[in-house]
């Protein structure tokens, strides 16, 4: 049953890319979700902030302020499960899960949140803005997503999450964010980020990521030298 459900949820869904009018219409239906009240403005604007005044004028700063810590983690756990699924609740809920660990199990949500905030220092709590965008568009894709997570994005199926990215990829101001989120997540899931101590600059445990990728681990050298092509060591 689980596999069948997963297969169903894994199918592409139809999305009108860049359909701002549709988004606005859908966004208006979100009022019952008080915790995301200001996100409607975000979604309607469908604009990624590039400056504080720009953000403020569209209510994005206010939107970020109402994103609670739990909602923030919920949203990014939903994103981690989307990029690198595992056996966790978020992956199961989206209908695409795996036996071996995934991004949620690695516990890199905090690192991802911190990095987003650090890379955009002039936007207060940029990670909250990103969460607002993901959740706002999630409600455009599915105004009544099932599930018990605080984050509408985390409640979506895998195909619906793909549809969120389709909208972002098709909406000019959101393209930069759509482009960099997946590689950021993938980097943290497949590097030693989860067990790297920045103070001692050493590992606090064995990285799950190395097992996921069958990586031999870091080393000062390897027994891999295979000589020279045609035994030629120089050309002119």
């Amino acid at each position: 049953m689980k596999n069948a459900a997963a297969k169903k949820k894994d199918r592409p869904i139809s999305v009108k890319t860049g359909a701002i009018d549709d988004c606005e219409s859908a966004a208006r239906r979100m009022s019952r979700r008080g915790f995301l009240g200001n996100i409607a403005m975000v979604t309607a604007a469908l604009t990624l902030a590039r400056a504080t005044d720009f953000l403020t004028s569209r209510g994005w700063v206010q939107a970020a302020e109402v994103v609670t810590t739990d909602l923030l983690h919920d949203t990014f756990n939903g994103l981690l499960a989307f990029i690198v699924p595992g056996p966790d609740d978020y992956s199961v809920a989206q209908g695409v899960s795996t036996v071996e660990p995934g991004g949620v199990d690695e516990g890199v949500a905090d690192i991802l949140i911190a990095t987003l905030d650090e890379t955009t220092p002039f936007v207060p709590q940029f990670s909250a803005t990103v969460a607002g965008i993901l959740n706002g568009i999630a409600l455009v894709v599915n105004p009544s997503p099932p599930g018990t997570f605080l984050s509408p994005f985390a409640c979506l199926s895998f195909a619906e999450k793909a549809a969120v990215f389709q909208i972002m990829d098709g909406t000019e101001p959101l393209k930069p964010l759509a482009g960099v989120l997946p590689p950021f997540v993938a980097f943290f899931c497949y590097s030693e980020a989860a067990v790297f101590d920045p103070v001692t600059r050493s590992l606090t445990g064995h990285p799950i990521a190395w097992d996921l990728s069958s990586y031999q681990g870091v080393s000062d050298g390897r027994n891999e030298f295979l000589g020279y092509f045609e035994n030629r060591r120089r050309v002119r």
Partner: protein, 588 residues
């Protein structure tokens, strides 16, 4: 007053500094980022330590890692792979040092002459640059790369396509070859063991095949800094510049100031460059000095930014324009056998297609490999193509790998064979660096904005990339790949050039044939931005370094009544015993 002030200690600035220091000039070298004086202390093998875009030591940001990185506005989905610090981007490069395609110079008359961007040639001939190539190749030094497993496999794939092997340093035909790399050859235990106790200098010399080019090379352990395997300028040209008085009869050691971000170039009433103003990151103090000549080497983004922030003239509007980036793409094969993708030098093999571009076999640590696999302009396979249908040439997927697809591909990173596509792309005015009007200024002034029109490139550029992608897919299939994925990347700006280009005509270039600014005498540019074009697809570092050597000679001749030395003297290698002794004596 200094003789020369150089702004930026990366791949180009370090070369100018060493060459002019060896002539006895009083050189001040400014670097915005950290010093990286002791690689074994400053760097580790961990991706999280090195490559985190916000806090990694290889970020574009201040020396103090507790402070945020410096911001650039990217106008589109894209990644800009640059770092600050002494050595610049050569700290995380893979040492690849090919020469340029001869077809991008004025003296080329081959049968395929029309295959190149003929509107934006270098303003001199390839033959004129050859002695400067040879000078740099001896200085670093640059040598033929040894093989690891991924190179062996890649060469077999190239032969499956019917390609011959190239046996000269020059690009003469469509052919594969071991790279010419700025990496010292493995000797002793290097490349023959993973035992760290046996990898200590001098038991091991040269490349140890650790697989950490992208995290910075500090191998072999305990080697003097000028004998580290990968020849980043931080371990080659910079140590030479700091000890020029000790190894050169005519030399004078440079003054190097790191954590010093240049914020302005001052000119006099005749628009002649006179001074540089900079800000010290740790204290916020502002300094200014005058010089007889000034050289900008801040990179393809920061050099035009500094120019524009200084209010220097831009009468033809070409400051910052003409960005070339090799229109990069990546093809990954999932192989039914070990490829040692994460082991050995990052890239030891390539295929040149003159007039089209280049393919390289590349290996990366798992975090970077996964990130690059998830970075696409073509949507998510099976869900949407983001308006880029087709173009797979028999690949199993086109687009970003995520979810189960990513986990499946990454389940054994050492069974991946990754081929990067570097396109011979046209110089186009629309691709440019300007000043951002939407991001707030930082402590150094308005921040740069990078604008690349990925889907509106010239027909030749697009056709070149598609040709290369098809070849890469064919190569991987010929080797028995069980799956082939085309990523179809957005702008992945790992090679960037020509935003302050030198050119034949004054209407579409900033620099003249001497790399001197057309409208600001005594102001030169000697980083990748000075290149006239994308040099045909090969990695740009060697050509920038050869051009910087030529520019150093021009400065010495034009403003210090000196004589040229390339071709008249024998170069001193950065691994010469005299340099090693100088480095040890001075404690560099």
């Amino acid at each position: 007053m200094r003789d020369v002030i150089i702004v930026g200690a990366g791949g180009g600035g370090a070369v100018i500094a060493k060459e002019l220091a060896s002539r006895g000039l009083d050189v001040l070298l400014l670097e915005a980022g950290p010093r990286f004086a002791a690689p074994e202390r400053d760097w580790t093998h961990f991706e999280s330590d090195a490559n985190n875009p916000a806090s990694g030591y290889f970020r574009f940001g201040p020396a103090d890692r507790s402070r945020p990185p410096w911001v650039r506005e990217l106008a589109q989905s894209s990644l800009l792979v640059q770092l600050s610090g002494v050595g610049g981007t050569t700290n995380h490069y893979q040492g690849n040092s090919p020469r340029a395609a001869p077809g991008v110079f004025t003296d080329y008359n081959g049968a395929d002459w029309n295959a190149y961007d003929r509107d934006h040639l270098f303003p001199f001939g390839y033959r004129e640059l050859l002695p400067y190539y040879a000078w740099v190749e001896h200085t670093l030094p640059i040598e033929t790369a040894p093989m690891g497993l991924k190179e062996q496999i890649f060469f077999q794939g190239a032969q499956n396509l019917g390609l011959p092997v190239e046996r000269t340093k020059d690009i003469t035909r469509a052919a594969f070859r071991p790279q010419e790399n700025a990496i010292l050859q493995p000797r002793g235990n290097a490349g023959r063991t993973g035992d760290p106790h046996r990898l200590v200098f001098p038991l091991a010399e040269g490349c140890t095949f650790c697989g950490h080019c992208s995290q910075g090379c500090f191998q072999p352990l305990r080697a003097p800094i000028n004998l580290k395997a990968k020849r980043s300028t931080s371990v080659s040209y910079i140590p030479m510049a700091l000890t020029a008085d000790l190894w050169s009869r005519t030399g004078r050691a440079i003054t190097l100031i790191s954590d010093a971000f240049a914020t302005g170039i001052g000119t006099d009433a005749q628009s002649i460059a006179r001074s540089v103003t900079w800000r010290i990151g740790a204290t916020g103090e502002i300094f200014s000095e005058e010089a007889h000549a000034i050289v900008l080497c801040c990179g393809t983004v920061e050099t035009p930014r500094l120019w524009l922030n200084s209010g220097l003239p831009n009468p033809n509007g070409w400051v910052g324009r003409g960005l070339t980036d090799h229109f990069v793409d990546a093809i990954t094969g999932v192989m039914p056998f070990d490829t040692a993708s994460t082991r050995g030098p990052g890239c030891g093999g390539r295929i040149d297609f003159p007039g089209v571009g280049m393919l390289e076999v590349v290996g990366e640590t798992p975090g970077l490999r996964a990130a690059l696999s998830a970075f696409s302009d073509a949507g998510i396979p099976g869900f949407y193509d983001n308006g880029l249908p087709g173009g797979g040439y028999g690949a199993d997927s086109v687009g970003r790998l995520i979810g189960r697809d990513l986990k499946e591909a990454m389940s054994n990173v050492d069974r991946l064979l990754n081929i990067d596509v570097f396109t011979d792309d046209d110089v186009e005015a629309q691709n440019q660096v300007t000043l951002s009007s939407s991001y707030p200024p930082d402590e150094h002034g308005p921040v740069p904005r990078i604008e690349i029109h990925q889907r509106n490139r010239s027909a030749r550029t697009i056709a070149n990339r598609e040709f290369l992608v098809e070849k890469a897919v064919l190569l991987l299939r010929s080797l028995g790949a069980s799956k082939v994925h085309r990523i179809n990347k957005p702008p992945f700006v790992i090679h960037s050039h020509s935003t302050m280009r030198m050119g034949l005509g004054a209407d579409d270039s900033v620099l003249d044939e001497n790399a001197e600014a057309r409208w600001v005498p005594r102001l030169f540019v000697a980083d990748n931005s000075a290149l006239a074009n994308g040099i045909g697809g090969p990695n740009p570092t060697l050509t920038t370094q050869a051009l910087a050597t030529r520019t150093a000679e021009k400065i010495f001749q034009l403003y210090f009544s000196g004589n040229p030395w390339v071709g008249n003297e024998a170069p001193v290698s950065s691994i010469d015993p005299a340099v090693t002794q100088a480095v040890i004596t001075r404690g560099v």
